[in-house]
Amino acid sequence: MTLEVTLGEPARATTVPPDLRTHLTDPSTRAALMIRQSVLTAVRRLLDAEGFVEIQAPIIGPVTDPGVRGAKQMDVDFYGHRYKLMTSAILYKQATLLAFDKIYYIAPNVRMEPLETFGTDRHLVEFHQIDVEMAGASRDDVTALCERLVVAATREVLQHRPAQLGVTGRDLDALRRLGQEPFGRMTHAAAVAELAGMSQQADAHAEIDWSNEEMLSLEAPRPFFLTDYPKGSRGFYDRESRSDPGTLRNFDLIAAEGFGELCSGGERESDYRRIMSRIRETGENPAKYGWYLELAREGLHPSAGFGLGLERLVRYIAGLDAVWQASAYPKLAGVRSA
């Protein structure tokens, strides 16, 4: 693999992927991929038991999720029209609730991440999400489900992949404690204040940046939900609070031990008029969201859901240094690879 770019500052990544043969024959890759399989087994078992219908996610469409920090969408020539590879299938998830009340995808996503993500140890250009959506659900409903999923996946791996956890060198005590206490909660505003207390700069109107998020993650005794992000930090589909305008009814799940964000989700805007205003607030051109806006005008179900990063969850459970180690064919920003 060739690093094509000069980043202008030392890359912080602890490791970079080797060539594909070395990667695929590395015992720790094999262990990570088997842990990944167990995670998927546990996720599917739990969601199926709770009445969710698994749908195969779309791969291309005229539009995709625009709410992705700094990343470029990848264009596809669709018979002379510009289509996109899915950065996430959020808009399709909302649409699919017209068929079923509870759905999920194990969805492949592609994001041309900015080069600065190369050194975060937790960004991949090609990755998968456990993408869940529930009609009529609240944020509390889906954070509870997300927590059940993470705990179930962890227990599955502890039970069936102890040897592989040995290979990846996971601290098993920390894993075994997971689920003994409920995950924590912290609002975005409280996180900004806590960071200020640690003499870190954090913008009250923006995402928590990656280094600050890692710091919060290192401080946390257990995973926690970071809630109520400011409006200017997320896509138009996250629902704005009616009682606290300017904040969103959304969340990220932040793992402990410095592993950082695993999941983003929230309640969704479903009202056509509000969606249209929010589209403008996020600088989007409504014209390209034709099919989605038509559905919204005729009525979408209120819903909530999330996208739980599969490789990030595997990295966390397996205790890997970098998220690419949880992928068979890792692709990092700016790196040409198999």
Partner: protein, 424 residues
């Protein structure tokens, strides 16, 4: 100094001949023809174009100059015009002068060699460059031809001639151009990595155009280009009986909350990039400036109704929008970075704008004329004349830094409007 260029560029109502003279002669052109020195007598120089309210403002040097005394003490000698410090910071981009190269649009004259020549010279001068919002959608992002028209070629022409730590590139995007994801593309492009990492890349959210306030962009495009754009842009049938079609952009829908949130999202999504906002000269321009600065914009640029190198219906150019003087009268930057453009080409207009609150002024049409006159150094010489005049005027005002200019420095026969800052 002769030029090999064919001088194809026309700019009606603009003092093109005077600009071309400066592009040839540089600072020497600030003076009357030296061949008449000692023999001719000189009065007020006719500029050949009708002065607007801003040009009618007089620059008012004082007799008593406490700041000159400070400078004298600092230097240990009498200060001279060359001691005037013109360096500044334009929305976070360090600049050798309070000048920037305005967006030259996707029109044919700017898309060919002139755009690249202007970019190269702006870099050499150490002043920031703004790239028009529809360059990428119209001319492509990468582009394989040698015309210099594509977005990347325009950026490369600039970054290939960077002057030390100075300058920077500000890339515009407006409502429909968001489809092309210009900002995301640049932000993840290895080629722009060095200017991004050195803090010299910015993105400018564009709300309309100076030459056609309240309307979106309009360009005539060849039929094959129009076909490629079908579905992404609207076309008006006005020109359909000719070889080209009229592409019309929507102006975009804004209210205060939409503007505020778009700026916050830019800061959120592109944390390493500077954030600018470009406003057309609307009647609520002061409110829009305040919202933009409050939301965290590093700079706000106002294109006076006199501005714009783009193609616009004459009724809009004649009748719509606030003149720059009125914009400056309404806006209170209060330490924030305000950039203005509109008929800029010489030092006095620039000094007046700075005195009325602007941090920097943009060269648009004048830059195009200058590089049309001499593609190698026309803009460099024009700026040399302009900055020479600025230094003369600022030192005459008893000041030695462009940022010290204030409303006390201008006055005269402009009829003050309520709240006008002149003479405070």
């Amino acid at each position: 100094m002769t030029s090999s260029s064919p001088n194809i560029l026309r700019a009606e109502g603009f003092p093109a001949e005077e600009i071309r003279r400066r592009a040839r002669l540089g600072a020497r052109a600030v003076f009357p023809d030296a061949s008449g020195y000692g023999a001719d007598v000189f009065g007020e120089v006719p500029t050949g174009n009708r002065p607007d309210a801003l040009d009618r403002l007089r620059i008012l040097p004082p007799l008593f100059t406490p700041r000159r005394l400070e400078k004298l003490i600092e230097l240990g000698r009498e200060p001279m015009p060359a001691d005037v410090d013109l360096r500044t910071d334009i929305g976070g981009l360090p600049s050798a002068f309070p000048l920037y190269l305005s967006a030259l649009g996707s029109t044919k004259v700017a898309s060919t060699r002139l755009g690249a020549a202007a970019a190269r010279q702006a870099a050499q001068l150490g002043i920031p460059m703004v790239i028009g919002e529809n360059i990428a959608p119209v001319n492509g992002y990468r582009g394989d031809d040698d015309s210099g028209g594509s977005m990347r070629r325009r950026i490369s022409a600039y970054t290939g001639h960077l002057n030390g730590d100075l300058g920077g590139v500000l890339v515009q995007q407006s409502t429909e151009d968001a489809d092309a994801e210009v900002w995301n593309q640049i932000y993840s492009d290895p080629e722009t990595g060095p200017i991004l990492m050195s803090g010299r890349l910015g993105f400018e959210l564009k709300l309309g155009q100076g030459a056609k306030p309240g309307l979106g962009g309009m360009t005539l495009v060849d039929r094959d280009v129009a076909e490629a754009m079908a579905g992404r842009y609207a076309f008006d049938p006005a020109f359909d009986d000719g070889p080209q079609r009229l592409r019309c952009s929507a102006p975009g829908t804004f209210d205060e909350e939409i503007l505020r949130q778009q700026i916050r999202l830019m800061r959120n999504n592109f944390p390493r990039a500077r954030v600018g906002v470009k406003l057309f000269p609307g009647r609520d321009v002061a409110t829009a400036c305040a919202v933009a600065w409050e939301a965290g914009a590093d700079s706000v640029t106002v294109d006076g109704a006199e501005g714009g190198s783009g193609w616009a219906p004459t009724v809009m150019m004649r009748s719509a929008g606030l003149p720059l003087a009125d914009c400056l009268a309404r806006i209170s930057p209060a330490g924030q970075c305000l950039c203005v453009s509109g008929r800029m080409w010489e030092g006095a207009r620039a000094v007046r704008c700075l005195a009325l609150g602007a941090r920097a002024v943009g060269l648009g049409r004048a830059a195009l004329i200058a590089v049309d006159e001499d593609p190698d150094a026309g803009l460099i010489r024009l700026v040399s004349a302009l900055t020479f005049e600025m230094r003369l005027l600022i030192s005459a005002l008893g000041k030695y830094a462009a940022r010290d200019l204030a409303s006390e420095d201008v006055g005269g026969d402009l009829v003050p409007e309520p709240g006008y800052p002149v003479g405070r």
